[in-house]
């Protein structure tokens, strides 16, 4: 790579890995040791929310219920994210391995992969890989079995509790929290649900040790991350990079020389305008991301970008809670009305307040995060909204 600040990492796709040996070693260790190793690594969830993985496993392991589950969230639906697809395609055994170690810690006998409906083309190969996996763990006498459940194409089913509803055969609607999945998840039983990438990192931490992972990144954002780079860039694709870079560093590497904004974290993420590139760190201390990085150059209308996101949310809200269902419709119609001159420009302030209400009152993360892109785009590109 040409840029000195960006460090390319190769943990995820590294194929030089004795799968069986890593599992055997992990299984020799006590559950406490495994949790401590994970805690030491500082690994946080890679789906976007960033909950410490070790704590998720720990809380679930502490539940007395004998029936528990580990679920891999492979419902990669965030606009601009496509890294899980690649991981599922390239290194599925590592995902299964992460789930197996988790199963040991929490005491699960069954694991599930909830595969995005649009990824059906991966199913056959994944099933083949699962066969190989099951014969390996049979050898190791590990009592664990993984099944794949297909999603049907709803974005909301990537929300963990909606995902459980969908797995149980019900309509994908988020549940009230608490209780959290660690207490009541799939089939209302204690469940660890992790993103595809998180599970692979967990597995790799037991290959290399927490220290190697911890050396990468910053205090708040340890390790590396797989990014899906798209938009106005000469080199779109999937890159595993050390966390802690600024948006400016990122743009220097991936921009086309005319980048005016970067949307970090997809439609539910934040829009960073050029003037803030320098001071914005990509990570939990700055703008968190599940991996989606969309670059926009000066030929793009940010009004159209926002409208596109709002159309997406208006369609993909599950529709059960008021702020999200109606709020998304109002935000979309609202910016259209301002653009057409049917509403005064100061209606944007009214909409900003509405977005804030959505952020604090929506039932789940979807509705709460609509404000992220809305507020950051309206605030930073106000003129483009009006004229």
């Amino acid at each position: 790579m040409s840029n000195n600040f960006l460090r390319r990492v190769d943990l995820i796709f590294d194929k030089d890995c004795d799968f069986k040996q890593v599992l055997r070693n992990a299984y020799k260790r006590s559950n406490d040791e495994i949790i401590n190793e994970l805690l030491e690594s500082g690994l946080r969830g890679r789906g976007g929310a960033g909950f410490p993985t070790a704590l998720k496993w720990k809380f679930t392991s502490e539940q007395p219920d004998p029936e528990k589950y580990v679920v891999c969230n492979a419902d990669e639906g965030e606009p601009g994210t496509f890294k899980d697809r690649e991981i599922l395609f390239q290194v599925p055994l590592k995902i299964f391995g992460g789930m197996t170690i988790c199963a040991k810690v929490i005491g699960a006998k069954e694991g599930y992969i909830y595969l995005r409906g649009e990824y059906r083309f991966l199913l056959l190969e994944l099933e083949n890989q699962l066969q190989i996996f099951h014969s390996i763990i049979d050898d190791l006498k590990i009592p664990f079995h993984i099944k794949i459940v297909m999603g049907s194409g709803a974005y909301i089913c990537g929300e963990e509790s909606a995902l459980f509803e969908s797995m149980e055969g019900d309509r994908g609607e988020p549940r009230n929290k608490p209780p959290y999945p660690t207490v009541s998840g799939f089939r209302k039983k204690p469940t660890v649900i992790n993103n595809v990438e998180t599970l692979v990192y967990a597995f790799m931490i037991f290959r290399y040790g927490a220290r190697k992972f911890k050396e990468l990144g910053t205090i708040d954002s340890r390790g590396s991350k797989v990014f899906s780079v798209s938009g106005d860039t000469p080199k779109p694709g999937i890159y595993e990079l050390e966390l802690g870079m600024t948006v400016e560093q990122f743009v220097q590497e991936f921009g086309d020389g005319d980048t005016k904004a970067v949307q970090v974290g997809g439609a539910s993420g934040f829009c960073v305008p050029r003037k803030k590139f320098k001071d914005t760190i990509i990570g939990f201390e700055g703008v968190p991301t599940g991996g989606s990085m969309m670059l926009f150059n000066s030929s793009r209308s940010m009004y159209n970008v926002l409208k596109n996101y709002l159309e997406f949310f208006e369609e993909e809200s599950c529709g059960q809670c008021t702020p999200c269902r109606v709020g998304c419709q109002q935000l979309k119609l609202g910016i259209e009305a301002v653009k057409k001159g049917e509403k005064h420009a100061n209606y944007l302030e009214q909409l900003q307040k509405l977005a804030q209400t959505m952020k604090i009152t929506a039932k789940c993360g979807l509705g709460q995060s609509v404000a992220n892109s809305f507020s950051s785009i309206v605030e930073n590109f106000r003129e483009e909204m009006i004229y």
Partner: protein, 596 residues
């Protein structure tokens, strides 16, 4: 005892059981938090978000209905953050809502309207979404009208249909902006598994689900000099009507109601309780007949257990869900339809009236009765046996329209014939009542003695548990009933269709060993019917039930077979229970329907 949790709400400390929600805790402190999707009878949904509160240390505002208390929690229910959020949410709901309140059937009785008034929503804050929607109105059903333009998607109806009734005729369709409450393949409610029970109507906070009302048709009939309009009133109406007219739950208003009906202009005010007594005679003897066939004739084709057939919601449920057990239903029509058949035959004859000129109206706690009256099976008098069915709520509307001060009315008596009844009939209105009334009569017919319970009160079959079993040992039989000597008569009572399903599944599995099953479609029986005053909850239903039993205890005659008008009816017209004439007028058969 549950763990105790200490928290403060609006600065006031309170200690509550672990698992209590913030909403419940606030209620104990007499703090009112507005709600829409919340309902006492249903599981928590947490989807309207109107009940949000501020919680110290949390960036988001949790929904108080769904958030359990935690130690040291500090809750604020009335801050500027909370008020702004609630106002936004109410405004959002209004923007999706066809807010033509003045022409809405629920005007003045709408929870959204109340909330909009409480939060002083004047100028709409947001864009009116109604023109962008393709809202549908389903007005095919004779019982229930569903207007999507009034729906706020709280899903109370969906939860009611699923949890209380195990019918799930209503469900959620589509997502996002297009999300709506709909039916299987979006068919009209008339064509799906809907039992017309109206429990969804009872719980809909707005005008999205209402009964089909026949108020104007009935006024037309009343003011038509050519017509003789008879009205019958169901047992459960008299203990609930007051609620819709400003009185407290549990008041018995029989006498006032009769006066009011007379003032409205009905030509004859009669009582469904009369035909409830008649039902006991027909159904009781039918049960004894089936027992005889089973025990004496050893007839392998006799269908036991026999199930009651008074509840039209239950009838439609069994038609769809357990059609193979249709022959287990008593062939008796419901009291409403027995009355209707007699009104245009026996009554017409007695009063020397042309049946073609009789308009038969019934006041029911029920929306399914509207469907029942429209059934093709229900015209054995040669005419439509019951012309119009009004709910308790519709009667209250008429009383208000007529400018009657209900609470100030004097009491009066029903007309005759077909106006005299017994305590056994009035308890039809509560779950277990038909069973109790049947046992009072059947036991006495068989043994010549009263049922061996203190004051005729068969406490075994009373109560609010979903499924209640009871058995009575029969001994000391009269010679003609000797085959019943020593028999343990096993019964079961269920209310709410979810409980009906439990009983029917047990029957299907060959369990229970019951002889007689009473099932009422609605929670609490007819007193909790889909046509009763809104709101409803367990406490209100309990008060209505208590009133029913008070009414029974105060009646001079408390056994159906002692009703002098029923005795006269048999003597003059029907000869005996289950006679040929009875079968012609008072019995019927139902047909299997598909589930989808």
């Amino acid at each position: 005892m549950a763990n105790q949790i200490n928290l403060t709400i609006d600065g006031m400390p309170i200690t509550v059981d672990e698992g209590t929600t913030i909403l419940q805790a606030a209620k104990k402190l007499n703090i009112h938090i507005p709600t829409l999707c919340y309902h006492d009878d249903l599981c928590v949904a947490g989807n309207c978000r109107v009940c949000v509160v501020e919680m110290k240390g949390s960036k988001t505002l949790p929904a108080s209905c769904a958030m359990p208390v935690a130690e040291g929690m500090e809750i604020m229910t009335n801050t500027i953050k909370v008020r702004t959020a609630r106002k936004h949410i109410i405004d959002l709901l209004l923007s999706e809502h066809n807010a033509k309140c003045t022409t809405c059937y629920k005007n003045g009785n709408c929870e959204l309207q109340e909330l909009a008034s409480e939060y002083k929503i004047s100028e709409p804050m947001f864009i009116d979404l109604v023109p962008y929607k393709n809202y549908q109105m389903d007005a095919y059903s004779p019982s229930i009208i569903k207007d999507d333009s009034k729906c706020i998607r709280c899903q109370r109806c969906v939860r009611t249909c699923e949890e209380l009734q195990h019918v799930s005729a209503l469900g959620v369709a589509y997502k996002g902006a297009h999300m709506k409450i709909s039916t299987f393949f979006e068919n009209p409610m008339f064509e799906v598994i809907c039992t017309n029970c109206g429990q969804c109507v009872n719980r809909c906070p707005t005008g999205a689900l209402i009964e089909r009302n026949y108020v104007d048709e009935v006024w037309q009939a009343i003011f038509d000099d050519d017509k003789h309009v008879v009205v019958q009133t169901a047992p459960a109406v008299r203990v609930a009507l007051g609620e819709a007219l400003g009185m407290e739950p549990g008041e018995i208003v029989t006498g006032k109601m009769v006066t009011a009906l007379r003032r409205l202009g009905f030509d004859s005010v009669l009582d469904t309780d009369f035909s409830a007594d008649l039902t006991i005679m027909e159904e009781g003897f039918e049960l004894l007949g089936r027992l005889k066939k089973a025990l004496v004739d050893k007839d392998p084709n006799v269908k036991l257990p026999m199930a009651t057939s008074c509840s039209p919601g239950w009838i439609k449920f069994i038609e769809h869900t357990y059609p193979e057990y249709l022959d287990n239903l008593s062939t008796c029509k419901s009291p409403q339809q027995m009355f209707g058949a007699l009104a245009k035959t026996y009554y017409a004859q007695k009063r020397n009236l042309d049946p073609a000129k009789i308009v038969s109206v019934s006041i029911m706690p029920c929306t399914a009765k509207k469907f029942e009256a429209d059934r093709p099976e229900m015209s054995s008098s040669g005419y439509k046996d019951v012309d119009y069915v009004l709910t308790t709520r519709e009667l209250a509307v008429m009383i208000k329209q007529a400018g009657i001060d209900f609470s100030a009315l004097p009491e009066s008596q029903y007309d005759s014939v077909m106006g005299i009844s017994t305590g056994a009939a009035v308890i039809f209105g509560a779950t277990g009542g038909v069973m109790e009334a049947a046992l009072r009569t059947a036991y006495e017919v068989v043994t010549g003695r009263e049922v061996p319970f203190n004051g005729l009160n068969i406490a075994l079959v009373r109560g609010m548990d979903g499924v209640r079993e009871a058995s009575i040992k029969i001994d000391g039989t009269k010679p003609e009933w000797k085959f019943l000597e020593g028999v343990e008569l096993k019964t079961v009572v269920a209310h709410g269709l979810t409980n009906a399903k439990r009983v029917m599944d047990a029957v299907r599995e060959g369990k229970g060993g019951w002889h007689f099953i009473e099932i009422m479609a609605c929670p609490g029986g007819c007193i909790g019917g889909g046509g009763q005053p809104i709101p409803t909850n367990e406490e209100i239903r309990r008060k209505r039930v208590e009133a029913i039993y008070r009414e029974d205890a105060g009646m001079p005659i408390r056994k159906s077979h002692e009703n002098p008008e029923v005795i006269a009816l048999y003597k003059e017209y029907l000869q005996e229970p289950n006679s040929h004439k009875s079968h012609e007028l008072l019995h019927t058969h139902y047909k299997a329907r598909q589930r989808y």
